[in-house]
Amino acid sequence: MLTNPVLPYLLLSALLFTIGFAAVVIRRNAIVVLIGIELMLNAANLNFIAFWRFGPHPEAASGLMFVIFSIAVAAAEAAVGLALVISIYRHYRTANVDAANSLKG
C-alpha cells in the first residue's frame, strides 16, 4: 500500500498532528498545550516539504518559502504564547488550563 513515496511522510505528518491535538485536549498544563500546538505546526511544515519534494514542480522554491515563513510565524507564536502562560501563572499561581476560566480575572 505504501507505493507512493510521498505517503509515508504524509502519514507521519498525520501522526504528529494527532499527537499535538491529543496534547491540546488531554493535558492540564498550559505549557504542554503549547508543545502540542508546536507539534501541529511542524506537521503542517512536513506536509509542505513533502509535497514540494515530490510535486510536479520541485524546481520552484515556493514550498520551501512557505515553510520558512511558517517557521518564522511559529516562532512569534511561541514567544507570545509562553508570555501569556507566564502572565496567567503570575495571576492564578498555576499553569493549569482548567483553573484559568475567567477573562477578567
Binding site: 492540564r28 518559502m65 516562532a75
Partner: protein
Amino acid sequence: MTALLTAGSALAAISLRNLVHCALALALSFLGLAVIYLELHAQFAGFAQVLVYVGAVAILVLFAILLTTTPEREGGSRLASGWLAGIVSATALFVVFGGILLSSRALPAPGGTAPAVTVKQIGQELMTLYILPLQVIGLLLTAALIGAVIISMRERGAR
C-alpha cells in the same frame, strides 16, 4: 527509522510527567524532523528548523517551565477534565486522516527528480518575488517581541 524517533519522542513530549523531560523530548522530536527535511533535499529548511526550533523554541519552553513550575503543586492529576473524550477524538482524527490518505487518488505521481534549490536561489527569491512577505514577517516578529515583553511584564499593583 528517523520517523520512528520523531513520532516516539513527540509522544514522550506530551505524555511524560516531568515537564523538563517533556521539553527535552520535544527538542529531540524537532531534531528528527530536521533530519527528515535534510533527507527530502530541503537543506535550508532543515537548518532553519535546527536553529529556530531546537535552538530557540525548545529553550524558550524550557525557560517557561522553569519559571512556572512550583514543586509543591506537582502530583495530582496531569490530565484535563474530559480526557477520555479527548483520547477518543484524537484517535478518530488519526483514523480519518489515515483513511483519507490511503484512499486518495490525488497524490502526486511517483518518480519525480530530486529538486536542486540552492541557498543562493532562495536568497534571490526572498529579495525579489517574496520581498513583501519578508517585510511583513519582519513587522510581525517585531510586534510579537514587543507584545511578549508587555504581556509578561508584572501587572501594575500586583503584590
